[in-house]
Symmetry: C2
Subunit: 286 residues, 2 copies
Amino acid sequence: MTATLIDGRALAATVKETLAVRIGELLAEKCSVRLDVVLADHNPAGSVYARNQAKMCEELGIEYRVHPVACDADDHTVLGVVSMLNSDPDVTAIMVHLPLPAGVDTHRVQAAIAVEKDVEGVNPANIGGVLYGRRALAPCTALATMRMIESTGIELAGAEVVCVGASTIVGRPVAALLMEAKATVVSTNIHTVNLAEHTRRGDVVITAAGVPGLLTGDMIKPRSIVIDVGINRITDADTGKKRTVGDVDVESVLPVASHLSPVPGGVGPMTVAMLLRNTVATADAG
Amino acid sequence: MTATLIDGRALAATVKETLAVRIGELLAEKCSVRLDVVLADHNPAGSVYARNQAKMCEELGIEYRVHPVACDADDHTVLGVVSMLNSDPDVTAIMVHLPLPAGVDTHRVQAAIAVEKDVEGVNPANIGGVLYGRRALAPCTALATMRMIESTGIELAGAEVVCVGASTIVGRPVAALLMEAKATVVSTNIHTVNLAEHTRRGDVVITAAGVPGLLTGDMIKPRSIVIDVGINRITDADTGKKRTVGDVDVESVLPVASHLSPVPGGVGPMTVAMLLRNTVATADAG
């Protein structure tokens, strides 16, 4: 017996198909569907990301606009751009690409994004809204993790879900979404005593610790669902080439788990789809 | 052997003494320390609370101002009062008494309170700030629960803390604070399968389920810390009189636990102290 791989690319494609239909309807109603991004000049990683994003938005019929800020811009300038986008009624979805120029207070900029336009869910008011059970834009990676779990058909109410890692990017926002989904949630971190005792009780185990090979087959319950959210760049011992792996020791986990969301090809593609989903949601609400 | 009772009234008195010293310093520096509350007319519970609050503030040297709204006020009116307080530089601490007039959207009003003046921590941006590990005003009951735990001297990093109940008022915000304190956090709810298995592993057990007698001695680990945050009004079988009890079966828990925060006299008085603490903190920051 071997675990079923949860195909993030296929699930993301399905999400995009559904979104394309909704976008078509909105455009037919003369509503615009639009994503406005703030991007620092001379930011190679951000530029590549933005180019791919532009292409994907074009394919789906989402208007994509880049608002560049100079590489030496200060808080005042970046906050000014965000404020302009916040007050523009034609702008429904705002994303701020990181890294921002050196010296800019990223947290301050994120908290300044209008709550209802914050498609990445980086304004604390949005995850606070999730925690308080209100309508809110959840962070994309956490939302993607939930979709991967839900794709297995598990009933989350009453299920025991163990999060390995309590980072502010993944572990904590996922815990907030899981509490809202009525799961029994176990949040672990580097200080947790005997991690394996916790993971072995999980109906679902989510790894987001940034440690290659951390979760092994002997650490999970037979037929449990494993969602790998780790992103680690390692050098392959055989080929000497760099490659991306998650936190899961795939070889030992596959024979034990019922489902595994792998890295790459799992939560990653779904995270991109969730950004598009939030973008369409804000256009829908607008 | 019997558990040590954590005396919330004594701890709250100590907090207030420390605050009184700081308030004295701030007043000597010509800084005002002030609490502005919004209170609906003809709200008997709120009025009693506000009168007690006024008295306590007066004792400590905190200026207390009530901003009444008519009992038939609408969203627009209440939001107008909050907006006026938000933009007044002399106002550093805002509390909105509940219930608001019928028909007013409480969540909308709470989300409108300026994040840095929200001394009750009811704006989702504040608990979101806690979850994201940023400087934020935490909700008073959750903060009080943390103080009761900390008073025992336990090291929270690596400790297993089980929350019984995942309400938006207590269970979830406490979980956010505990994650920030590096604890292993187990959030349970009414759907949790075999609750006792979870509580028996807790170094700390927090009950906030609203079920009298829910947590019994056989459900906890010897020498664990039990924090009762339940508030239940029951009729005494012997006397026929109403009284307030928590979620803990005190008789069976006392011989097993190392510490018990009781109801009444535990988290309740400390919650009031935490509101004052947040009020002084905002004056300090101002």
